[in-house]
């Protein structure tokens, strides 16, 4: 008897838990709604990106629903937390696909998207991801679409900047050893070498690293004429502070993060002079983006990063494309979106004119920005490619 009891309890718990699990979301679907779930990193290492992506998406959902929905259907968006765990993300995408999702929003972390896009591809459900790793759109998956361009799109602009604007022959690379940093690092090192520039210091750092003094000391010693910095926000701020402390005076150039408002706030005066190529940025000197950023702050009482914008335009893209095809047809949706350009003048929810190619890769115009007087200022505009 004693041996048997716990097992029965286990079964009861398992069954009770499972019942809760599979009945809740299914009811949401009736004929006047459309299910667009958001599967995101709400906890774990990717929580900041994931929550911003979700919050941005919800702003769009509320606006669209207030204006009558998509083709008269109200959007129902439930949030699912992947815990930044690829295995969980796959389970959750499977779950929302089973529940009849029209289009899936998320995930932001490339490691997760790599896994769960297998599920949407298999089921033929379009997925609007926030991931920027190059391989996402290189797998021939017809149902994956980006909300910002992959890092491989940014690299040519950066290489041009090092070779043509800065005219340097020796660079150092400071990068973070996660899938984001490694993706950028590999592409950049390959491209800059091809352009005849020598990489004199290749410095990997840990995610969450706090002491950047050996990194900066190594770069200083290497005689690099400029540094390519490819790390996440807090690490970027710590790196900038250490660089300032050790009086590293060569240009520091990054992608997206280095001139991010958050980094400027965290690094204070140490951020002054930092340069970055930004695709989609909250500091872009474009009225539509500034309006969105203000709107976000008003609703959530904190600032968003570019992931908030990605979530927002992702949902609007779903609306516009669906209205173009006139029906909730997943296959037609994916077909329509390939090779599509949405002009921001006609489709204001896109904030900036945006195009997708046949792989789901995205392009729009981008900017070179530099921190001047505590603000990121655009120093050059790079057309869409």
């Amino acid at each position: 008897m004693r041996g048997f009891m716990p097992m029965r309890r286990a079964a009861v718990v398992a069954i009770a838990g499972a019942l809760v699990a599979w009945h809740a979301p299914a009811q949401a679907q009736n004929n006047k709604t459309v299910l667009i779930p958001c599967v995101c990193e709400l906890s774990g290492a990717g929580a900041v990106s994931g929550t911003n992506y979700r919050d941005g998406a919800h702003i769009a959902v509320n606006e669209i629903n207030a204006a009558g929905g998509i083709l008269g259907h109200k959007i129902v968006m439930h949030d699912y937390d992947t815990q930044t765990n690829p295995m969980v993300s796959r389970a959750l995408v499977q779950k929302v696909v089973d529940a009849g999702a029209y289009v899936v929003m998320g995930t932001v972390y490339s490691g997760s998207t790599d896994v769960n896009m297998l599920v949407t591809e298999h089921a033929g459900v379009p997925q609007i991801t926030g991931s920027e790793a190059p391989d996402i759109t290189q797998k021939g998956d017809p149902y994956i679409f980006r909300t910002s361009s992959g890092s491989e799109k940014d690299i040519p602009a950066l290489v041009d900047y090092f070779t043509q604007t800065l005219k340097v022959k020796k660079v150092a690379v400071e990068w973070v050893q996660n899938d984001f940093g490694k993706g950028g690092h590999d592409l950049f090192v390959q491209a800059i070498r091809k352009a005849g520039v020598q990489v004199v210091a290749d410095v990997p750092s840990e995610q969450g690293q706090v002491d950047f003094s050996p990194d900066v000391a190594k770069i200083k010693q290497s005689g690099a004429q400029a540094v390519f910095v490819y790390v996440n926000e807090e690490e970027a701020a710590r790196f900038l502070k250490e660089a300032k402390k050790q009086a590293l005076t060569v240009p520091l150039v990054g992608d997206v993060t280095l001139t991010d408002q958050k980094v400027i706030e965290l690094a204070g005066p140490a951020a002054e002079g930092a340069i970055a190529h930004v695709g989609l940025t909250v500091s872009a000197p474009v009225p539509s983006i500034q309006e969105f950023v203000a709107k976000f702050r008003k609703i959530y009482h904190h600032n968003t990063d570019h992931n908030g914008i990605k979530g927002y335009i992702g949902v609007y893209a779903i609306k516009y494309v669906t209205e173009m095809i006139g029906t909730f047809d997943r296959k037609a949706f994916a077909a329509k979106m390939h090779g599509l350009t949405l002009d921001a003048k006609k489709y204001p929810g896109m904030l900036l004119t945006t195009s997708w190619d046949k792989t789901g890769e995205l392009s729009r115009e981008s900017f070179m920005t530099q921190v001047k007087g505590g603000k990121a200022v655009v120093i050059a505009t790079i057309p869409a490619n």
């Binding site: 900041v48 840990e206 969450g208 706090v210 002491d211 003094s213 050996p214 000391a217 958050k262």
Partner: protein
């Protein structure tokens, strides 16, 4: 040479912060046989309490600091002992370890949910300048951090060795049974150890957060480094934790500069395994004290 000096000095500055966390950790370990898996979060939290005072209650910095310090002692000292450690009795064992792991999740999640997931700047309490030593650039802040850590450990050692209360704490930690028959208030002495740990964590928090930035996940690596520092140095010695902390800070930087960057995190781990296997009492510890 300038490079060597540079990373050595930076390593000492970082190591001094590890040392503060490690000292408190070994105090609690000795006093209550409790390995606190939430130690890293104990260093993360006080900075956020200050930020709450500053940004939510709109108090001046000094009041916010005082508020953060007092609340840390209350929450991480008193409440931690009463609500989490005490119910387990004298030998908490594994369930107590699990409870502190759960506490670390709770603290992280609470900060993330109620304050925010993004890193926040933290006001610097120390002057910002830099000066040059033999070609290395040293910030005043780093030097002051190091001095502060040394001073705290020195004062603590003096307190434990030179005052009657300190010696009662030592007796209560080393041999609670004897302390009790001599009339030492063992429960009170144990409480002092918890309060001291909370105070040290708060000091460490205020010193490092201007550099580390305030983030809910700051404790994750710091907690582990504190364990490692305490064990390497010898957990039954206050100055062992100090030496362990400084050693890890310096070795970490030297490895990163001269040996390997991808494996920079491996060195303290290898050192830890080696110390545990060949000298479990730690580099400075003595053998007579019990091994938990």
């Amino acid at each position: 040479m300038a490079q060597f000096l540079q990373v050595l000095l930076s390593g000492l500055a970082t190591g001094s912060i590890y040392a503060l966390a490690a000292v408190g950790f070994s105090l609690v370990w000795q006093a209550a046989q409790a390995v606190n898996f939430a130690q890293g979060e104990f260093v993360m939290l006080p900075a956020f309490l200050v930020l709450i005072g500053e940004h939510w209650l709109h108090w001046p910095l000094w009041a916010a600091l005082l508020f953060g310090f007092a609340l840390s002692i209350l929450l991480l000292g008193l409440a931690f002992k009463r609500l989490i450690v005490q119910p387990f009795g004298p030998d908490g064992g594994l369930p107590l370890v699990i409870a502190t792991m759960a506490l670390s999740i709770l603290l992280k999640e609470a900060v993330k949910t109620f304050y925010g997931a993004e890193a926040e700047p933290f006001p610097s309490l120390l002057p910002n300048g830099t000066f040059h030593v033999g070609g290395a650039v040293v910030s005043v802040r780093d030097v002051l951090n190091l001095l502060a850590a040394l001073a705290v450990v020195l004062l603590l050692t003096l307190f434990l060795d030179r005052t009657k209360t300190g010696r009662q704490m030592q007796a209560a930690a080393q041999n609670p049974g004897v302390a009790e028959i001599l009339g030492v208030d063992v429960a009170r002495m144990t409480l002092y150890a918890f309060l001291l740990n909370a105070a040290l964590a708060a000091v460490a928090s205020f010193l490092i957060t201007p550099v580390y930035l305030a983030k809910f996940s700051n404790g994750e690596s710091l907690g582990i480094v504190a364990f490692i520092a305490a064990i390497i140095g010898g957990f039954n010695r206050i100055r062992g934790a100090l030496v362990g902390g400084l050693l890890i800070g310096v070795l970490d930087n030297l490895t990163a500069t001269y040996v390997t960057l991808s494996y920079r995190a491996a060195l303290p781990l290898v050192l830890l395994i080696a110390v545990i296997l060949w000298r479990p009492q730690g580099l400075l510890g003595d053998e007579e004290a019990r091994i938990v």
